[in-house]
């Protein structure tokens, strides 16, 4: 990761560490936790879309797989939560392969519909055969590791954002490696990539798996925090929301995914003042910010900073 990113990361980690001291109370922290969970999915989606150029409207499907597999195993078999979470990610990775292989042939809108279909199928499966059916199920154990149960909002906040930070670093490393370069290359030209010996199909499958694993990780965190899940949380609506996060934040930047996730998660909380009108105001803000911050919030901020630097020097 570059020096700019490293500085940003330091600021980011400091902000996270201090946040529970400033924004006390588990309400604010829970908003933070859900922001973090969404950020985790958004980072994966950002790599998938912004770097590899693959649209996905089915990310909530992987998110749901992670939540359900982990929760069901922990409720039914009482295995350690960390094992259940790993199982959730493994199943999601398998599902990603199943989705990615046919999706290799598809582009643009067709890929969007294929992934949308995948997400909806997962939703129907959870509805029909998931534990508890459409009503969902509860009493899922809290996250615990080495006998320490993470229950309180502040400790879970650190857990989630710790995971986000580690994932972000992992993702930056990946993007700045030969693999990240190859992903960006296939975004520009698949023909040339293949001709240069970059296996486009394998890379696409791998990046689908990566985004699925991130999403499943997030899903299992959600399940073990809320301790109740139902299929409604993993619908197409959530997939669209995740897409919105990535785009609002700036699709070509991992920080964008994180910022976008926080903004889209926090915004409805801020809009509660508007009561009934919140959906109106929400739609209006989304439309305007998409129109005026076309490249996304983070690229915009970077541009602003660079402009300032430039003018300062002049």
């Amino acid at each position: 990761m570059g020096r700019g990113n490293f500085t940003t990361l330091l600021v980011f980690i400091t902000a996270i560490s201090l946040f529970p001291f400033i924004g006390s109370g588990s309400y604010v922290l829970t908003v933070g936790i859900f922001s973090g969970i969404n950020a985790l999915v958004a980072i994966g989606l950002c790599i998938l879309m912004g770097y590899a150029g693959q649209v996905s409207l089915g990310q909530a499907g992987f998110y749901g797989i992670g939540a359900y597999v982990s929760a069901v195993i922990s409720v039914k078999f009482g295995l350690p939560v960390i094992v259940c979470m790993a199982a959730g990610m493994a199943v999601a990775a398998g599902a990603a392969v199943v989705l990615a292989i046919p999706a290799l042939r598809l582009k643009g809108h067709y890929l969007a519909v294929a992934t949308l279909g995948f997400g909806e199928i997962i939703h129907v499966i959870l509805n029909e055969w998931g534990l508890g059916g459409p009503s969902g199920f509860g009493d899922i154990p809290n996250f615990s590791l080495f006998g320490i149960t993470v229950e309180s909002a502040s400790s879970f906040f650190y857990l989630v954002w710790g995971v986000v930070a580690v994932t972000a670093v992992f993702s930056f490393n990946l993007i700045n490696s030969r693999n990240g370069r190859a992903l960006r290359a296939i975004h520009d030209s698949e023909t040339a990539s293949n001709a240069m010996g970059v296996d486009v199909s394998v890379l696409k499958i791998k990046v689908f798996i990566l985004s699925a694993v991130y999403a499943a990780f997030a899903g299992s965190l959600y399940a073990h925090y809320v301790t109740f899940i139902s299929p409604a949380s993993f619908s197409l609506f959530h997939s669209v929301l995740l897409l919105m996060m990535v785009i609002v934040g700036g699709i070509t930047n991992i920080w964008g995914a994180i910022v976008g996730a926080v903004v889209i998660t926090v915004l409805p909380e801020l809009l509660k003042k508007f009561e009934e009108f919140d959906i109106l105001v929400y739609g209006l803000i989304l439309t305007l910010s998409l129109m005026f911050f076309r490249k996304g919030l983070v690229p915009l901020i970077i541009d602003k900073l660079q402009q300032r630097k430039g003018s300062g020097r002049a």
Binding site: L106, L116, I125, I251, G283
Partner: protein
């Protein structure tokens, strides 16, 4: 047994007709801009709710209400295009599509504000007993919906093939730069495509509300189904999307009838995925046309 099959078929046609109209609306805009307007479902809702407003609340005659509804819907789409689509460069399609999502949220908010959350309904176009064909029942309104769907296809076909302005719109679809060079106002064509597709959506809403009721948040479901219909038929193919709509409607109904009603959405989507696997450009789509597209 045949009666049962026929009944499933009629049910599939009823739902399929709406998907077909939404799919058709998608195609009109897609052809002009390559954008998928995910607010398309909202225009169906606008159609149904405005029709209720004019005919039931203002007590206007049927035809007047219908015409007013279609015009107001077109006007709404005009506003949407002028305010959110026109000011932006048409380069980042994903951004444009997300803007249509944001607009759909906004429209839903407006609809909820005006109409509340209750469902609305008005009497069918013609009152009377349903028809019985080989023991299976088909409601008169269903026939209206199917008839209107086909009329729309024919009208749109004639518009695009027989009128100068329709031909100009097609030219924009094939090659916007060339169209501009021969003096076609591409911007105006894009605007027109939004208006036209909103009108088609509104017509669907007007026709279907007596059967299925209409409430403010029905749009997303319709958009998703219509999107699937458009993809199944092959984007850019108006008639393909209509076929796609009916196929999805019938698939859902047959799955519900012969497999399990809980799985109807999943099976219809699985079949869509299978089709895409073998024909990545949809049933009626051509692969070369797909490659020419930017997205």
């Amino acid at each position: 047994m045949f009666t049962v099959f026929l009944q499933f078929l009629f049910s599939g046609l009823t739902t399929g007709a709406v998907y077909a109209l939404v799919g058709l609306g998608f195609n009109i805009i897609y052809n002009a801009t390559s954008i998928i307007n995910l607010a398309q479902g909202e225009f169906v809702v606008v159609g149904g709710l405005l029709m209720w407003l004019f005919s039931e609340s203002f007590k206007l005659p049927f035809l007047v209400s219908a015409v007013l509804t279609i015009l107001v819907s077109g006007l709404l789409a005009l506003l949407m295009e002028r305010l959110t689509i026109k000011p932006l460069p048409k380069t980042d399609l994903l951004l444009m599509i997300m803007i249509t999502v944001a607009v759909s949220i906004l429209l839903r908010g407006l609809l909820m504000f005006k109409f509340g959350k209750n469902p609305y309904v008005y009497p069918p176009f013609t009152e009377g007993e349903p028809f019985i064909i080989a023991g299976a029942v088909i409601q008169q309104q269903t026939l209206w919906v199917i008839g209107i769907t086909f009329s729309c296809i024919i009208l749109i076909y004639l518009f695009f093939n027989r009128t100068l302005i329709g031909k100009a719109m097609r030219a924009c679809a094939v090659n916007p730069t060339a169209a501009m060079l021969v003096g076609i106002d591409v911007e105006k064509m894009i605007m027109l495509s939004f208006v036209l597709s909103a009108m088609v959506g509104a017509i669907g809403g007007i026709a279907v509300t007596p059967i299925s009721l209409m409430e403010y948040d029905k749009g997303p479901m319709l958009a998703v189904k219509g999107f699937c219909a458009a993809i199944m038929g092959g984007l850019g193919r108006g008639r393909g999307s209509v076929a796609g709509g009916f196929i999805i409607g019938i698939l859902e109904s047959m799955t519900a009838g012969y497999i399990h009603s809980g799985l109807k959405d999943a099976v219809a989507l699985l079949i869509l995925l299978a089709i895409l696997f073998f024909k990545p450009a949809g049933i009626f789509g051509s692969k070369t046309a797909l490659q020419m597209r930017r997205f």
